[in-house]
Symmetry: C6
Subunit: 268 residues, 6 copies
């Protein structure tokens, strides 16, 4: 356990180190908020490398990644983009939610993810060979079943895939105590509530609550909210697209958490 | 009751203060015209922070939010956008109707809404860490059942959700009296008319009349219009896409309001 | 009756004045060519305010409304758009056929149409508060049944709705006499012909002939055309997408109007 | 009959003159190649006004019509577009195949086609009132039955509609003799062939052959081609999308025209 | 037979010369690789005119055809495009595969293809009248049965259509001998193979092999490949979208061509 | 066998040399990761020509290929793109995954792939004739059965097609030993595992594992991972869009590879 609060869940640290040692790119998969971003930050600390994070989205052009020409002092000067800066400085370059990117923007990554480890800046007529410690890390959430976009098989085959998941309940409660300074009993009740909902996932068909929303609820409790108030605002309302809380969710919360008067409906 | 006429409806002020204290972003949900914009302005006054409002729409680019390069005196100079200005000044930044925004524009908010509280200005090669009082507030109206756009679950999970609703009738009448200077009896008849229509919502399937349109009708009455004239122009006609008023709505209005001759059809 | 030939049809002048007095925006609805544009010009004269007209269309950007940066003398200078000029000069700003506009362009109007009465020029970093006489007027023709676009309910609720319609036959004939200098008998025959077609609208399912096309036909008659020639060219041919005149329309025209030899087929 | 070879077909010259006298815009309808462009050129000569022709297409922006800012000598200068030049010079402005234009580009014409006769150059902040002889003329071919685009009824109602058609056979043969210098007998055989095909139009469902293609065939004959060769290349092959000539068309041609050996298959 | 290896197939040279003499534009139709490009080059030599070739595609703008403004030395200067250069120099301007062009780009050709023979450079405010020898030639392959695009009938009617096709077998073999220097026997076997496949076209439903691919196979044979190897790589594999060769094609090739050991499977 | 580790699989080297000698373009087809890129690099070494690689994607414009104007020192200067540079330097120009390119971008290749061997830089008004050793090589993976894009038949007919495939097992194991320095036994087990999966392809309907992923797994094993760990991360997880490994794949891997304890489930 390190001081930046990353809690390893399995063999992900070992696999990441092997890939780093072999200069191979890594693809992280797992549900929203299970700690992918923190894992990359943790590995950056462990390996002594800076992390350059790029949030992918539909409108990210390859120019946004590699750089562009800008006018400066009446002249046109090339400005490196974050990917180029990451390559040149030998950083860990983290493309968050890579499946959201325009797929044509990803073509620029091909020569970086095979034996060439090279970035071709065609517009600047420059070729950058990645230094040894440079590493490309991508992530995406395969649980978006309805997503219209999919990564191409030939793209996925370029990466060492590391599958991540939620922490086991005890470890997840540790995180809540450490990050929100709530009592362990509160933390465990929140984790129990989340676990019940995650197991009911197949019934409800929504994105299950992440560790992130549990931390948010715990912080609201630390600020003075009751457990039920915090769970409604941070865990239950975001689960539905209209913010309304269904009866089933309400019952799960009431069975696991304390109301504002401290009362507790024990599930029979 | 404050001097800027915001009428709290439940625990929303308390929840907002807890989120502010914990530096967590807030998502306001509720029907059109129930007072979300006024609530944010009210909280800005209460917390002593300026409010920067951005109306979201389909064409809002991330450059519109964070800033862009502009030519000035022959040189290219970076100009902060309203989001960047709000972050730097520690303001409440209010993204109104966030569901209308191009979703790729929202990716820029990710690093602002988790533990990093940081805005990455990749094009300007600048990183802005939000000062303590900065707070991001978003709103959307989940009642648009036909909307093709939906916020991604992982996006909703980044916020403390505060669900808002219409004021109770007595409070709503208070607002009409205070804002349009009509008699309390007039105000109550308008609120009764709106409440009847809102309850009939399931039959009519339209966006129910908001407090905003009641204030508009009250002001037209204050200017000289009869109650029915004002209700036709401000409450009933906007309910249908062609401005025509259906028989059912006409009967509801006639049963609740005074005609220009002061007559009143009492509902049996 | 004013000297600019606007013929009031009901309470529209009174409602417009009340809205102006209360600083509320107005939405005009009604069929094509029933006189919405003239009504706004008439109210501008009556209230002593200039009118700024903007024809809305699919390609109208918010920059076209509020302004943009232009290069001048090597520097970049902000140029106000017609909406900004209208706000600053306290004019009546008339958005004709607002339903045709790109809906994202309309978001810029939100802060102008509620209690704020403010225009946010984010790109110029300027905030313009509307002076007292500024008034926003929009219009659209709800009779386009097949239109794919619809105004959002929350947008319609921001306006006082004034429903307009064709003038009564006598008033419409007055307009023809005044504008085209034809005999009153000619004018009445043209109005009778139009009224017959409008009543047959449910059978033919087309946009009924407007006062505008009657004026056009009257002017062609004044220039020397026979009544039937003028009606064919100005009233009947534009009713069908291919300019061909159906038998039914031909009969209606023949039954109401004089041929070039002055003969008249009286309907039995 | 003028020396520019325009052959009037009915009352179109008279109607056009009345509209010009009354300063009303004109819409010409009729099949491809029936002489709309020549008619406008003819009227320009008759009325002593220059003609500015604009071929409409999907990509024609309102800037292409009214003008745009261009950089010149380091400064930005407004350049009038062809529509603005036509308005200022009091020309006949002819928008050919107006139905092909982006409909948002047509909104700029609204204020030119009603009582205002004014062109608003919003970007240049200039208002141009049309001088008396300025006249707007549009044309489209309503026979494109499969066209996805249609002119809006409210747009069509702004024009005096003049329906044009093919010349009667004798007049059409006059045109062939005058333009291609072929014998009258050759001209009449070509016209007979075209008339037979036009009458068979309902069977074949294609755009019937225009006067233009008859002139083309006549010119090829004048250059040395046989009548059948010329008809195949200029009249028959363009009728099908693959340039192949069907048996039915081949028979019609053979029955009306001379082969290269001067032989003639007389229809029984 | 000229020294640039064009082999006339019928009356196409004569028709082209008549059209050139009459200053009429020509449309070439025919299957891929039947020699349209070479025919235009041949006619350029015969008529003593330069040929300007423009390959049409989806993204070809009218600016690409006529020219655009470019910044040079701080000033904005107009640069003629290839079409404008062709018109001014009286060249043959060849638009290859014109059906692939954006149809709005083709509107610029209207005034060049009728009696006006004029190019309107609206943006440059320049009018170019074509000199006598200028000629516009377009081509397209009507055999693309699945093409979503079609040339408009009114566009096709502007051209003299010259239908081209494959050479007769003896002439095609002449081309192979002349261009690839293979024995006449080899050439004839390749032509026989192609003819068999072309006749089987209705069964296989693919683009039949062109003279171009026969030349390619012959050149590979001249370099050392066996007839079957060359036919597989140049004739058969390109026929299917996945490069795989079906059994039927394999049999046709084996029945017509020699294997690497010189053996020959004679069709029974 | 050369020192850059290319293992020839059939006649591809010979065919490529013949095409190079005849100055004909080559199209490589075959499954992902079967060694197309390495083959081109190998041929570049063998023929003593530099290789210019361009990864094709949806957003690749013809300007990206041929070059564009850039502002430099206040003036506009033409900059050659990678295709133009390859032509001028007589390189092998390799367009990887050409089917992904916007097809309109490919039109620029037409004149390079027929007898003209010429690149038309219309915007720069320059014509570049390819020197003798210049060669165009394209590749695509026809196994993408679901691809919406297909190369046009007339485009495919411009190339000598060379079909590539996986190496035979023994050769593939040679590659793993040489590139990842694993024992031959390990290499053979990985190849056996891959071969089993490739043969099961018809059942699973996914992109089969490439030599590339076998090398990746071998390198992870060399770094310390067990065979099963490495196969899970590099071979199995990338096969499904959600990174989850199906039971069938798990059994194949377990039957072929050693677990972390060195145990081996021998298939019965």
């Amino acid at each position: 356990m390190t001081n930046d609060l990353y809690y390893a869940n399995g063999t992900e640290v070992q696999l990441f180190e092997w890939a780093f040692q072999q200069q191979m790119p890594v693809m992280l998969t797992g549900p929203t908020g299970c700690g992918k971003t923190r894992f990359v930050e943790h590995m950056g600390q462990l390996l002594g490398r800076p992390v350059v994070t790029i949030s992918c989205h539909d409108d990210l052009t390859s120019s946004d990644l590699v750089g562009r020409f800008l006018v400066s002092g009446g002249d046109v000067v090339w400005n490196d983009g974050p990917l180029t800066r990451a390559v040149k400085s030998g950083a860990l370059c983290y493309l968050d939610e890579v499946v959201e990117a325009r797929h044509d923007s990803l073509a620029i990554l091909h020569s970086l993810t095979d034996h060439r480890r090279t970035l071709f800046l065609d517009r600047a007529d420059e070729v950058v060979t990645a230094p040894e410690p440079f590493m490309l890390v991508c992530s995406y959430n395969p649980a978006y079943r309805s997503s219209l976009k999919e990564l191409k098989p030939s793209f996925r085959q370029r990466f060492v895939t590391i599958a991540m998941n939620y922490l086991p309940p005890e470890r997840e409660a540790d995180v809540l105590v450490a990050e929100a300074a709530v009592d362990r009993a509160v933390a465990q009740r929140l984790v129990n509530c989340a676990t019940t909902i995650r197991n009911a996932d197949e019934v409800f068909h929504f994105e299950p609550p992440s560790t992130r929303v549990l931390v948010a609820a715990a912080r609201l409790i630390a600020a003075g909210a009751s457990e039920l108030e915090a769970a409604h605002a941070c865990i239950l309302a975001p689960l539905s697209s209209d913010g309304a809380i269904t009866e089933g969710l309400r019952e799960i919360a009431a069975a696991n958490l304390l109301a504002s008067d401290g009362s507790h409906v024990q599930s029979p």
